[in-house]
Symmetry: none
Subunit: 226 residues, 2 copies
DNA sequence: CTTCCCCTTGACGGTTCCATGAAGGTTTCG
DNA sequence: CGAAACCTTCATGGAACCGTCAAGGGGAAG
């Protein structure tokens, strides 16, 4: 049950050095040499933490960060030689949680990773299936059942439902949903949420015209209830 | 509404500089000059983020950090001149979420704070449900229950009720209510409050003709009572 | 008891907000 | 390379809500 760390770094010497330093701390380290490689590895087996170098051949570190962040809440640390304030801000805005400049002390990197893991959402812990009336949500497998029958939801619809289900009864504003489902750096039409709520209702509600679970609270947002 | 930041820093010049830099970013900043002061302020009104200098008179930054962390999950940033790896590790082990060394760029500090706030659990403040007799007000869920049954209130009605509930028993004049519920720059009919009080009563009072909770004080205004 | 003032009540136009349908663009997969 | 699924935007209709007005009623002072 060790914590898995994915390091994205094109310089092989540094990659090996980082791997050894982190393995000394008791972590399981996987290395990727390019952005494409990293995305591929992460897609097939998500790590618990991702370390990204900015200077990569092909797609750069910012893009890798944004791409991973679109699909996952995994803690991301930028590890790079560029120490400009502008780069730090850009890295954090891209979705990174921390930004460490080379050369760095392995002990410090480890401490920062531990600090991030403390805050990270219980990644695989919430395997319990949530229930709302005849609704049955299984975050693990990305599966939703209604009265026992499987219901196919798209990725966005599922994340929207999970977000609402994370705090049942509580009202989420459109801004909050945009931030937490689509990404904090999303700028666009506010009606976007409405459309997806509607689609979600057509699939999840027995009678979409009279929603029983995905309820709209006029002037505030949406909420989920039993 | 705004995010509140508590800075703990004994050097007044730096404290003011930090305050100005953060206020430029749109945050509400409160300053403490010592560890004792900080703990006291945090106890009476928890901030959303805490910045701590290591070198403090009296109890040091580590102790302040541990003390706050014992009671709260608030994001904590160490802001200090000591850049030793040992200090960084110690700071993070003490419960800090990030460690920034002076001199630092305000933009970078802001970006790091934003990154932390993204991860922070929704602030635990204000989740208390207020009760008045059979009335039950839950701001989080945007709903009111009367004897267990849900009562639907509109946005304005809800804000009006919350305002009255903020100081039960106290009489609010129409001007005060207009200012605090509708906004400072409102010019219009004085009867506006009456109409909404009426609508509120029809929904909240068992017998709207004989109000038990939303009581009118002739010549003065309205008040809420159990 | 009378009068005045303030509050209540009901109704109505204007506005805001949400649901719905459809179309265009992007990604994914065969 | 083509098709299907999906995401996003836009326009439109309708419902809910807000603020205003005028008429009616009830309490307080004289």
């Amino acid at each position: 049950m060790g914590t898995r760390i994915l390091t994205v770094e094109d310089d092989e010497r540094i990659r090996i050095a980082v791997r050894m330093a982190l393995e000394d701390e008791g972590w399981i380290v996987d290395g990727a040499a390019s952005g494409e490689d990293a995305l591929e590895r992460f897609a097939e087996q998500p790590a618990d933490v991702v370390l990204i170098d900015l200077m990569l051949p092909g797609i750069d570190g910012f893009a890798v960060c944004r791409s991973i962040r679109r699909d996952s809440d995994v803690p991301i640390v930028m590890v790079t030689a560029r120490a400009d304030t502008h780069d730090v801000v850009a890295g954090l805005e891209a979705g990174a949680d921390d930004y460490v400049t080379k050369p760095f002390q392995p002990k410090e990197l480890s401490a920062r990773i531990r600090a991030l893991l403390r805050r990270a959402r219980p990644s695989s812990g919430g395997s319990a299936t949530l229930r709302f009336g005849e609704l049955e949500i299984t975050p693990e497998e990305g599966l939703v059942r209604r009265s026992g029958d499987e219901v196919h939801l798209t990725k966005t619809e599922f994340r929207l439902l999970c977000e609402l289900a994370s705090m049942p009864g509580r009202v989420f504003s459109r801004e909050q949903l945009l931030e937490r489902v689509w990404g904090y750096d999303y700028f666009g039409d506010g009606r976007l949420v409405d459309v997806h709520v509607r689609r979600l209702r057509t699939k999840v509600e027995p009678d979409p015209a009279a929603p029983r679970h995905v309820v709209t609270v006029r002037g505030l947002g949406y909420k989920l209830q039993g």
